[in-house]
């Protein structure tokens, strides 16, 4: 019985936390937000030096060949520190997809470069102001050439490669496009959290390579998103923990009417509610990490459960952290809003809360059907 990380994994996490604190990751995130730089080059260079981009890449391709759990603990720290680097797009979404679905040629060409940072990858899904489905995507491929527009693509301005979900003859394809050498235009887009860069990409007959089965792109995408949901959940619980810590600290130090505001039950119970939400989310996310590690059939439901509860926990904690800070919480100067913004970004980036609740219940229905057969 062990629903916990190993001592080695905890050590890796603790080192990561120290590193990100030393690098003032939160301040760098603020600076990216203020200047709309898309990401922090310096921090990204150091993250690459740490070798985190290669954690899951097999040794054959010069990676560390470790399991998902090492990535999970890093994700929690990146979430806690709001790290303004293209890690989640390049690692959780792109690298994981390449490892799992790409052919040998692509792997050997790209994986080593993803470790060094020579390549940075991302994933382009959405096109319109509503949820993408297999039926409503319009970006299409014809004779290996992709045409159409994707929006809200994370880190596209720094990415060298993008995986694109597009309509194809047999259904939908997942396709790899080299952004550096192609008919693609990348335009940065403002978001609710400019501490992480997002862009629109116009594909004008851009060359592409198929990844995975032709026509089966949508199923691959779901698989990628289910895996990534676990890793993003770790970012979310890291962020939620950071805001709970901030709120607790402030409640102990801030006095009103002659005593610490943390001695008032309105604040106490607010913080207790934050703690309750976070604890449930953390436990669900740990369980999803186990399912991810073991590529369990439970992954779909476990990932959705982690995603839903972490999304709710981070949104609630970051919102009530502002409230706990009173007027200060509403200033640009305090960090509260950085977490509030990030919580919203992370609640949307791989699909909304409603969409994941729907996945969760659909998953329950399928497993119910299976168990009753």
């Amino acid at each position: 019985m062990n629903l916990d990380f190993s001592d080695d994994q905890k050590f890796l996490q603790s080192e990561a936390r120290k590193f990100l604190e030393k690098e003032q990751s939160i301040q760098k995130s603020r600076s990216v937000l203020d200047t709309k730089q898309q990401y922090d080059k310096d921090l990204w260079a150091k993250v690459l030096e740490m070798g985190w981009t290669g954690i899951r890449i097999p040794e054959l391709y010069e990676g560390l060949g470790l399991g998902h759990l090492e990535l999970c603990v890093i994700a929690e720290e990146l979430g806690r520190s709001l790290a303004p680097v293209p890690f989640s797009s390049s690692v959780y979404l792109f690298t994981e997809a390449i490892i799992k679905f790409a052919d040998e040629q692509i792997k050997s060409e790209i994986l080593p470069k993803l470790i060094s940072g020579e390549c940075v990858g991302t994933l382009a899904i959405t096109e319109q102001l509503f949820a993408p489905t297999e039926n409503n995507i319009k970006v299409s491929v014809d004779n290996n050439q992709i045409t159409g527009t994707k929006i809200a693509v994370p880190d596209a301005s720094v990415a060298t490669h993008v995986l694109v979900i597009c309509k194809s003859e047999l259904g939908s394809d997942l396709r790899l496009v080299d952004l550096t050498n192609n008919n693609c235009e990348v335009h940065d887009q403002d978001t609710i959290d400019n501490s992480r860069g997002h862009s629109l990409i116009e594909f004008n007959n851009a060359n592409s390579q198929l990844v995975g089965d032709a026509g089966g792109g949508w199923a691959l995408l779901q698989n990628i998103l289910n895996q990534a949901a676990v890793l993003f959940s770790f970012e979310q619980i890291g962020g939620a923990q950071a805001t709970l810590d901030m709120a607790s600290e402030y409640a102990k130090q801030r006095f009103a009417f002659g005593r610490a505001i943390g001695s008032y039950q309105a604040i106490k119970h607010k913080l207790a509610d934050m703690y309750i939400g976070l604890t449930l989310a953390k436990s669900n996310t740990y369980y999803a990490a186990w399912a991810l590690l073991n590529d369990s059939t439970e992954l779909e439901v476990a990932a959705a459960t982690a995603r839903v509860s972490s999304t709710e926990a981070f949104q609630f904690c970051s919102k009530e952290n502002i409230q706990t800070h009173g007027g200060n919480g509403f200033t640009w100067e305090y960090d509260c809003h950085l977490f509030y913004r990030r919580s919203k970004l992370l609640s949307l980036n791989i699909g909304s809360l409603a969409a994941w609740k729907e996945k969760l219940v659909s998953g329950l229905e399928r497993s119910n059907l299976n168990s009753s057969q």
């Binding site: 949820a131 929006i151 009417f257 002659g258 604040i267 007027g327 509403f330 509030y340 949307l348 909304s352």
Partner: protein, 408 residues
């Protein structure tokens, strides 16, 4: 029960309406709606000044004031009727509310006749803009915990300290301010109230950037700012008593959160979701809209009940405290709903006015739940003043201000 004006009210409404139609444009129609897009501050101030002057000249600016200060000696219900009618017109708002709503009553009650004659008419005419200087970095919900000092020096007082959340300080001419003249006595007894010329030497005004990106509030630093004793309002040591009426005015006046409401959510939900169905077909969305509609409608009808009481000459109670709690939280939920309804694309700032209003709602509501009394303070007020529950034990009771635990 009926919603018709009395004969007298109806005549008054017609008079208001007649004047407004001649002097302003009805909302809606052709491009008058300023819902989206920022207006240059300088231009906006000029237009606000012009409108205020027009109203003053006709007696509408402070219609409940005595005639010799420019008012019409109107009743409470007449003020409401005027407000209802004016709100239907597209006129500049947000510049004079605090000065007229908070500084006005205090000056009326505590200033000398000479001062009233000097300051009230230009205040009402919009020629001089007033602000309030109460909150401090260490005195938010606990306004009486303020630390700015006033030291008497001959016929003057010398003020040192810092005020925060002063709306419009950078364009104001005068301010009302409460400061501590004696830290060695009980906290509420050690404060004195003044009005101050905002152009006085030693006043330094710095904008506060809010999480919305806007900067409508300021920090105001006082370095040896000199105020003549004649600008004291109320006796030495009466500062809290003077301030508290003003604060109650503020907490009651802070009304409905502006922005996306049940109606906007309902209209937005007519749009299509990912399956090409209107969102309104989703039963979860329907339930949320029903909840918001009930809240919005409940607030509207509560206001009608308050007006009914006013109309009969009754004084309404502190029920209005609920308006801000309910509407700010509703705004936060509706903003979130609107953003989430766009799925991944919800993160994008776009030119679409609806999307923009949902983003504004989501960010701005976080501040509305705090400004003018936090959710927590307002619920305390309801519990203590409306339901009569006992006060929290006061850790600062009976202590000299300087001995109150402050965590520092």
């Amino acid at each position: 029960m009926d919603f018709n004006d009395t004969h007298q009210e109806s005549e008054f409404r017609a008079t208001c309406r007649g004047w407004l139609e001649k002097n302003a444009q009805l909302k809606g129609g052709t491009g008058n709606d300023e819902r989206y897009g920022r207006v240059d501050e300088h231009d906006f101030l000029n237009s606000a000044r012009a409108w205020q002057k027009k109203k003053f000249d006709a007696g509408w600016a402070m219609l409940h004031w005595p005639k010799h200060y420019g008012g019409l000696e109107a009743s409470a219900i007449e003020r409401i009727i005027w407000g209802q009618e004016e709100s239907k017109f597209n006129v500049p708002r947000g510049v004079y509310e605090i000065g007229l709503g908070m500084a006005g009553p205090v000056m009326m009650q505590y200033a000398s006749d000479q001062q009233k004659a000097r300051y009230l008419p230009p205040m009402a005419a919009g020629e001089e803009i007033w602000c309030q200087l109460f909150s401090e970095p260490s005195a938010g919900s606990d306004v009486a915990g303020l630390r700015s000092k006033a030291v008497q020096d001959g016929d003057d007082w010398i003020i040192n300290g810092q005020k925060v959340w002063t709306s419009g300080a950078h364009f104001c001419d005068y301010g009302i301010i409460v400061v501590r003249h004696d830290p060695n006595i009980e906290k509420h007894a050690g404060m004195t109230f003044f009005f101050v010329d905002m152009k006085s030497p030693g006043i330094d005004i710095r904008p506060i950037k809010q999480i919305t990106g806007g900067s409508s509030f300021n920090e105001v630093y006082f370095n040896d700012v000199r105020i003549p004793d004649s600008q004291r309002l109320g006796a030495i040591g009466d500062g809290w008593r003077v301030a508290i009426t003003t604060l109650m005015n503020e907490r009651l006046a802070v009304g409905d959160a502006n922005g996306a409401d049940a109606k906007e959510a309902f209209e937005w939900a007519q749009g299509q979701d990912d399956h090409g169905q209107p969102m309104i077909k989703n039963s979860g969305v329907r339930e949320s809209i029903a909840d918001w509609y009930c809240q919005a409608s409940g607030l509207k009808n509560t206001k009608l009940r308050t007006m009914s009481a006013l109309s009969k000459g009754d004084t309404p109670g502190p029920e209005a405290s609920i308006t801000k709690v309910v509407s700010a939280n509703k705004l936060q939920a509706i903003g979130n709903f609107g953003i989430d309804s766009l799925d991944m694309a919800g993160m994008l700032k776009t030119d679409d006015a609806d999307v923009h209003s949902f983003h504004d709602a989501w960010l701005g509501s976080a501040g509305l739940r705090i400004a003018g009394g936090t959710d927590e303070i307002l619920k305390n007020i309801i519990a203590e003043r409306v339901l009569g529950l006992p006060q929290d034990p006061r850790a600062d009771k009976g202590l000299a201000f300087k001995d109150i635990p402050s965590g520092n």
